[in-house]
Structures are given as C-alpha cells and as structure tokens.
C-alpha cells in the first residue's frame, strides 16, 4: 500500500482528468479565483497527482460529497491525513471529526448551547462592544482593519461569551489558524503551524478545564451537559476545545472579508445604508463571495459513484467550497458581490449534519459589527491594497489599511 500525505495513494478513476496543480500553492491560496474556475471547467472531479486526491468544485457534486456523511465520512479526518491509517497531531475533534452515532450525541449538546436563542441573548452585549470599537476607529479615521478591528472584536466578545477566565488574543487566533493549516499537506504553512504547537496547545488545553471557565457562558453550559450525564467530563473539555479551535479565526476572517467586500463595492455599501434590512442577507453574500473556509476533505468509506464517476473506498476528496460558491451555474454573475442576492445554499458554513454549529454566533458577532458600521460610517475606503494570508483551509486577509468617514 503506497501512502502519500498520510492517506492511501489511489489510481485516477476512469475518465477523470488529471490536473497537476498544487491547491496549496501560496499564490493560489492568496488569489484562488482562476484556480476555482479551472477546477470547475475540467469536470465534476479532477485527480491531483502530487497528493493523489480527487478535488471537486462544482456546486452540485461538492454539495453531495460534503453533506452525504454515510458515503463520505469525516471520522477519517477532514484534511489530507487519513486517521484510520495514521495518528493525527492532536486527538480528533469529537464533533467535527466523527460520524453518527457518536456525532449525534455531541452535536445535540452543541446545537443547544449555540442555538439561535443563545446567540440572540448576546445581541445587546455584542452591539455595545461593536458601537464602542467603531466609534474609536471613526475617531481615528484610518487604521489597520485586520489587526485593529477584525482580530480585536471576536477576541473581545467571544472569550466573554465562552466564559474564559484568561484571555490571550494571539493564542486564540493562532490556535485556529494552526488547526486549519494542519489540514493541508506537509508544506511550509503546516510545518510552521506545527512548530507553534508546543507553545500554544498547552495553554489552550488548560483553558478548556472546568476550573478555568466562569460559572456562566458556553463553557459552563457544556460542562452542565456533563453534569446531566449527556457527555462525560473529558468530552466536555474536548467540546470546549472545538469552540476555541473553530470559533475565533473563522469569525475574524468573516469580519475582515465583510469589510473588504464593502470597501471594494461602494455601491453595494450604499444599498445597505439605505436599507439595513439587507444586512443579514449581505453577510450571507460575503460568505458566498469569499468562502472563509475554502476547502475541507472527506474520505469515501466504500466504493461509490458520483455523477457517473467511480470513486474507490479510501479516496480523499478535496471539497473546494470556494469554487462551489462561485459556480456560475448555481449563482448567475457569481463574480459579482451583490447584496440583493439571496445566497441560501452557499456552502461557506458547510451543509447537512456537520453544517457549522457556531453559525448563529458568527452571524450575531459579524451582524453586530456591520450594524454599527452602517449606522455610523458614511464611507469605507481602502487606503492601500489588501493582502491575503495563505492558509491551507482558510481564505483570510492578512492586512487591510482602511479609512472610515462619518455620515
């Protein structure tokens, strides 16, 4: 059995084009649109020889593979490594990286803790924090929107909502980036991420313990599920870890990308100012248009077929969410950021049973920031080009100098 990047090397399935591309090339990661388009144009699947994986980027197949958990499992890892054959760098997530029935048990707890109601209860608090931050930035006029806004806001409100007693902004952001870089091949990005492990992982693990969480907050509610016997104490710690892994860097990215969309599409921003009701669908359009999680894998656990293509058991399939979200056949004028679009059906938050369990919280956080901006800021402008920060699974900005002009 020949292994490659931690999984079994496969033969290219009959009729599937072979494409010698590196989806993890830093240049592609920074500016993926041409790669997305070529991936879609080649067919429902391509075979990528250097990693011996299949990749899909058309909406239909990507949705099918990403949401059919029976044929395309998550328990063998959502990155390139196959957990059935190799030991992952950290104990697997007990929600993201498991299948039913194990998944159903932990998902139920998390869906309750992060319900729309729970997110709604935080709305005023989130809005107050957003008003304060936006007022400060308006006062200053120009600022670095990633370091001084996108990274600041979630690391302000999220630890509080979690009930973390200790906060280290840098560690919280970097841990997420690390977890996502770990999903890629053994490249520079992954090696650098792994090198940060010894410093960050012990700190994160410590914060997941019951005694390091306040009496109130998502952390305490997860431990309450342990007290009620739904999960055990160790599992509660693991679920807190999931929130620290997936809850910070993603939202930072969502805010940064939303600002980028508005700064580069001033006519769309005008529409939002005129009609704040569009804010909610506008964030969905930001998600569709920028796909903060650009790709995640699944592993076939049996021989199967998708759109007439035979796929062998044990195949890693890279589901390129960014490509699916810009598929012209699903989204007319996909290349246009359009706040009047109703982008329901985008895959930026996943689909099906693993669909983002933190989405209500993400929407509440980003929604509060956007509501504050629309109310206070007349004009959003880039003062220098934005730069993207390559990551093996996240498409995020690195820096974006912005200016805010009041109404």
């Amino acid at each position: 059995m020949k292994m490659i990047e931690g999984h079994v090397a496969i033969e290219p399935p009959h009729g599937v084009p072979v494409w010698d591309v590196d989806p993890y090339d830093p240049e592609i990661l920074a500016d993926p649109d041409a790669y997305y388009a070529e991936l879609r144009s080649k067919g429902p699947f391509v075979y990528i020889p250097r990693y011996s994986i299949l990749a899909c980027g058309r909406h239909q197949e990507t949705q099918e593979v990403f949401s059919d958990w029976e044929r395309f499992v998550s328990s063998r890892g959502v990155g390139l490594q196959d957990f059935k054959l190799e030991t992952p760098w950290r104990p697997p997530s007990i929600i993201l990286e498991v299948d039913p029935p194990a998944h159903s048990r932990t998902r139920k707890v998390m869906a309750r803790v992060l319900s729309p109601k729970a997110a709604n209860a935080l709305r005023e608090q989130f809005r107050a924090a957003a008003d304060k931050l936006i007022d400060e930035l308006l006062e200053r006029g120009s600022f670095e929107a990633i370091a001084e806004l996108a990274e600041v806001y979630p690391t302000d409100v999220f630890p509080q909502a979690m009930g973390l007693k200790k906060v280290n902004r840098r560690y919280l952001i970097d841990y997420g980036a690390m977890v996502f870089n770990a999903l890629g091949p053994d490249n520079d990005l992954r090696r650098k991420a792994m090198a940060m492990g010894p410093q960050i992982v012990p700190w994160i693990t410590e914060q997941c313990k019951r005694e390091n969480l306040e009496q109130e907050g998502f952390g305490a509610e997860i431990y309450a599920a342990a007290d009620a016997g739904e999960i055990n104490e160790g599992e509660a710690g693991m679920l807190v870890r999931s929130l620290l892994s997936a809850g910070v860097d993603t939202t930072v990215t969502g805010i940064g990308s939303a600002l980028w969309c508005l700064a580069t599409n001033p006519q769309e921003y005008e529409k939002l100012k005129d009609n704040p009701k569009l804010l909610r669908p506008a964030f969905e359009e930001v998600l569709r248009f920028t796909s903060p999680v650009h790709s995640f894998c699944r592993t076939t656990d049996r021989d199967t077929q998708v759109s007439g293509v035979d796929i062998a058991a044990g195949t890693k399939i890279l589901c390129v969410l960014g490509a699916a979200n810009s598929d012209e056949t699903r989204w007319p004028h996909a290349e246009k950021f359009d706040v009047d679009r109703r982008p329901t059906g985008h895959l930026a938050m996943g689909s099906g049973i693993h669909g983002c369990v933190g989405q209500n919280l993400a929407r509440a956080e980003v929604g509060a920031v956007l509501a504050a901006i629309v109310q206070k800021v007349g004009k959003i402008e880039l003062t220098a080009p934005a730069r993207w920060r390559p990551n093996n699974a996240i498409h995020a900005l690195d820096s974006m100098p912005l200016s805010f002009t009041p109404h």
């Binding site: 992060l114 729309p116 909610r280 109703r342 059906g345 689909s351 099906g352 049973i353 669909g355």
Partner: protein, 106 residues
C-alpha cells in the same frame, strides 16, 4: 412534481410545482418566496424556515425529530401547535396539495 402552497402573513397565496426529493424550504427559496429565509440551509441550526402547516397534512407529516423540537423553541414568531421547520419537510406525493402559512418574522 408536487403542488405546494405558501400563504404569506398578509394572506397572499403562491402555489408552485415543487421537485420531489427537495425539501419545502429549498422549493420556497428556488421560487423566490419571501418569508422563508433558510439561513442554515437545512442544517437545523437557524429556525428561519419556520412555517405553520394546515390540516390534513399537519397530521400526516412524519413526526418532528428531537432537533426540530429544540429548534422550534428558537423561532422569531410565536411557536404554535402546527409549527414546523420547512427544511425538514420532504417533498413527495404524500404532501401533494399541502398548504403552509408563513410567519410574520423569521
């Protein structure tokens, strides 16, 4: 194809031929029905696909799952006895002619 009817909060009716195998939320979105948002696209996380189902279909629909029960506690408009999540209603011959009312708010 299956006939489904949406009645909005002002009483306006839209009847459409929905594709079997989809769910009711998807059919509404595909047809541009306002009043169904479907933000989580069926992951049962958002409760923005809330509908009130008329008889006789209310009784004949499969029972709510535990997840649907919990999510219906989070609806923006009041939960009633006939509240359902439209993303959990599969389209097929058994719901032909179904009539659902849309809430004021999602």
């Amino acid at each position: 194809m299956t006939k489904v009817t949406f009645v909005d909060a002002d009483g306006n009716k839209t009847t459409l031929d929905a594709r079997d195998g989809d769910n009711l939320m998807q059919a509404a979105i595909a047809d541009g029905i306002d009043g169904i948002v479907g933000e989580c696209c069926g992951a049962m996380m958002c409760a923005t696909c809330h509908v009130y189902v008329e008889e006789p279909h209310l009784t004949t629909l499969p029972q709510r799952s535990e997840g649907e029960e919990e999510m219906l506690e989070c609806t923006a408009s009041e939960r009633r006895k006939n509240s359902r999540l439209s993303c959990q209603i599969k389209i097929g011959p058994d719901i032909d002619g179904i009539v659902v009312h849309l809430p004021e708010e999602q």
